[in-house]
């Protein structure tokens, strides 16, 4: 039986691990399918304090992990498949193994939203991508689409012009949500054009052959659907919390975020805490995730003492 099990190894989970390990709670961390969390798919992180020249996301997360291990946190490259918080001790299932814990810190973060088309998931990694920094390299001299209208869509589109010969932003509305400065940067780039009032409704291609080859785009004003050839589609329509695992176990809000008490990481279940992007729909930054990871560890420690 573990005193504390931490689910997730982003800034929130690993900060919780540092604090819990220093409090002698011997935390066990399940790293999940994205060890190090979302920052491992970005390049320079320039707003994390302590690194005046910036630091690469993967490198920053390596440091987080090493610091947690330094104080005795155990980290496993495993994904939690199922949880049962209905009775104590709490149970977590990993493959066919069962783990028991007196308290659990959930820091499963968020992942990129997708359109939800069957063809999209079939072609993910074969022309469809949710990570420009990971996959841009493979689209040298290609014509590609970016879906979205926020800052991250502008950033991805701009970044991708380093590789692609043309980038077309496909956006559902007739204006962008992105900040002025990001819009200007994208719109002034000669390689970038925009399809307004448009959405992708179908994708075509064979993952075993050439991958993505074309998409159907619907004009939302005229209703007209036109087939466009393309080599790649990059999704930048925001993120959703990774909370499917907790659906019938904890209170979630209508967007799927775990609800925590004000100024706290306490969830609807005593002994279960939630930190980082899984409960924060406002700030969604590495530093705030780390901050709430610290809070969760301290609150778990107090909970265990009160037993």
């Amino acid at each position: 039986m573990h005193k504390v099990i931490i689910i997730g190894s982003g800034p929130a989970g690993l900060t919780a691990a540092i604090y819990a390990a220093r409090a002698n709670l011997k935390p066990l961390v399940f790293e999940g399918v994205q060890p190090g969390g979302q920052l491992t798919i970005t390049t320079d992180v320039e707003n994390y304090p302590g690194f005046p020249k910036g630091i690469l996301g993967p490198e920053l997360m390596d440091k987080f992990r090493k610091q947690a291990q330094e104080f005795g946190a155990e980290t496993l490259f495993e994904n939690v498949d199922k949880v049962d918080f209905s009775s104590k001790p709490f149970k977590l299932h990993v493959g066919d193994k069962e783990y028991e814990a007196e308290s659990v810190i959930i820091s499963t973060g968020a992942s990129a939203k997708l359109l939800g088309l069957e063809s999209e998931s079939k072609l993910m990694g074969f022309g469809v991508s949710a990570c420009a920094t990971c996959d841009g390299f493979f689209f040298k001299e290609k014509d590609i689409l970016v879906v979205g209208g926020g800052d991250s869509a502008m950033e991805e589109a701009t970044y991708l012009t380093k590789f692609a010969s043309s980038v077309t932003i496909v956006h559902r509305r007739d204006e962008f949500r992105a900040s002025k400065i990001m819009q200007d940067r994208a719109l002034n780039n000669p390689k970038i054009s925009v399809m307004w009032n448009s959405e992708i409704v179908e994708m075509y291609g064979d993952p075993k052959d050439k991958g993505l080859e074309s998409v159907d785009i619907r004009n939302l004003q005229s209703g007209e659907i036109v087939r466009h050839n393309t080599d790649g589609v990059f999704m930048a329509i925001g993120h959703k919390p990774n909370s499917d695992l907790f659906k019938n176990q904890l209170s979630l809000n209508e967007s799927g975020y775990i609800i925590t008490e004000a100024d706290s990481t306490v969830t609807s279940k005593k002994g279960i805490f939630a930190a980082g992007d899984i409960q924060d729909f406002t700030y969604k930054q590495a530093i705030t995730a780390a901050g709430s990871g610290c809070m969760a560890a301290i609150e778990a420690e107090r909970f265990l003492e009160g037993h």
Partner: protein, 110 residues
């Protein structure tokens, strides 16, 4: 470099991968790819475990872009499993050691 994985490039691809009589698991990666780094411990553990029955090789896509293009790689990490010169399995993104071991076992144990 790890003891058990082999670095493959455009020069030795044919001899190490295509002409191998054992199954060859190829990990496409790059220095700038965060998720690839995260897969490294998995690949190395697998390489040690399967050192007698398979080859586990790494291809840096920056150094060998032609191989990546030939096999239509559009995202990394990408894992291709070769048997007798043919691609028999392909995985993109995070993948567990058990899943990769299962792919190899299917060929080795028939």
């Amino acid at each position: 470099m790890s003891e058990f994985t082999i670095d493959v490039n455009e020069e030795n691809f044919d001899s190490v991968v295509m002409k191998s009589d054992k199954p060859v698991l190829v990990d496409f990666w790059a220095e700038w790819c965060g998720p690839c780094k995260m897969l490294t411990p998995t690949i190395e553990a697998l390489a040690e475990e399967y050192k007698d029955t398979s080859s586990i090789v790494k291809i840096n896509v920056d150094d060998s872009p032609a191989i990546a293009t030939k096999y239509g790689i559009r995202s990394i990490p990408s894992i291709l499993l070769f048997n007798k010169g043919d691609v028999v399995e392909q995985r993109v993104g995070a993948v567990s050691k058990d899943e990769l071991a299962g792919m190899l076992d299917k060929i080795i144990k028939g």
